[in-house]
């Protein structure tokens, strides 16, 4: 998978397409409910929209996987390259935990087990989150409220670099 790359712009493009598809699906599902009601009123046999239900079964995990991918692609760069002093460690940990659990759940679905590209994407994000989690304790410690400018100076002295908390990023720190 080393030769493969997560391209956020492509991910966004595909996610928006799937999101649009989901909205259209909801619209069509409402229409079928109305059709079945009318059929009952007219006393004719109800039409079975079996294929539509099958679409729903495939669409649900697909939408969930790509929603994680979309959020992952938009948020992770901000955490890694955005201003470190603006990061909320608790919120980040909660989000990472949420995505990890969702990806674990999706790993068992047919979408992932039967489609190589989806499996690759799921695995890439799951692995990246595992790697990111390693920085959790550091992030939590350096984002405690008690950390004052003098502490940053001390850390900088130890590392032999000048650290400005308003300019430093997680990427630079690690």
């Amino acid at each position: 998978m080393d030769h493969m790359k997560f391209d956020p712009s492509l991910i966004e493009q595909v996610y928006l397409k799937i999101d649009h598809l989901k909205q259209s699906y909801d619209e069509v599902e409402r229409a079928t409910e109305l059709i079945n009601k009318r059929e009952a009123l007219l006393g004719v046999q109800k039409t079975q929209f079996t294929e539509l239900r099958a679409v729903q079964d495939d669409l649900k995990p697909l939408y969930e996987l790509w929603r994680v991918a979309y959020r992952f692609g938009r948020t992770l760069p901000q955490w890694v390259e955005g201003r470190f002093d603006l990061l909320d460690a608790t919120q980040i940990e909660a989000r990472v935990e949420e995505w990890t659990n969702e990806l674990k759940r999706l790993q068992k679905t047919q979408l992932v087990t039967e489609h190589a590209k989806q499996q690759e994407l799921q695995k890439f994000m799951a692995d990246a989150l595992v790697r990111f989690k390693r920085y959790g304790p550091m992030l939590r410690t350096l984002r405690t409220k008690g950390l004052a400018a003098r502490h940053w100076r001390m850390i900088g002295e130890k590392l032999e670099v000048t650290i400005d908390p308003a300019r430093i990023t997680l990427y630079r720190l690690v």
Binding site: V28, L42, G73
Partner: protein, 163 residues
Amino acid sequence: MSVKGKLDMEVNSIDEVITLLDYIDSLKRQDNKIADISLMIDELAVRMGYIESVYIRFPDEQYSEFLTMRNWPRTFMQYIEERKAELLAQKDELYKEMRREIEEVFERVKEFRQTIEEALEQGLVEKELTYDAEEDMSQDSDASGPEVVDEGAEEAKRLEKQR
């Protein structure tokens, strides 16, 4: 025989008295709906008799209005029958229109299936097919997010080795 007629019936034997008393008891019972309806019909019959006896006293302009009111149940019934016939005629047309909607749904489902198939082929891309990740990283581009995580991990490993 009406309820009133039965109640006014002359009784000549103890059996007839007992029968009549049983009948009165049955009328008093709340669950005896037939008797209730029977009583109501008797009452309405009396009222109708009164109406029939007074309508000739109305002046011409009120007489027409009176007839409309008097015929309202029949008029309403006729309206219901006409409406029913009208709706039955519309039923076929509505059904045809609904068939068109159903066909549209099936067409949409085909489109959904196609979009899903296309999406299933999407995911990670070959590095050569996209822009240079390192160049973008130096420009602090959002597009380099997950790659940064990889590089960060590598950087951390290097730092650990140095220590």
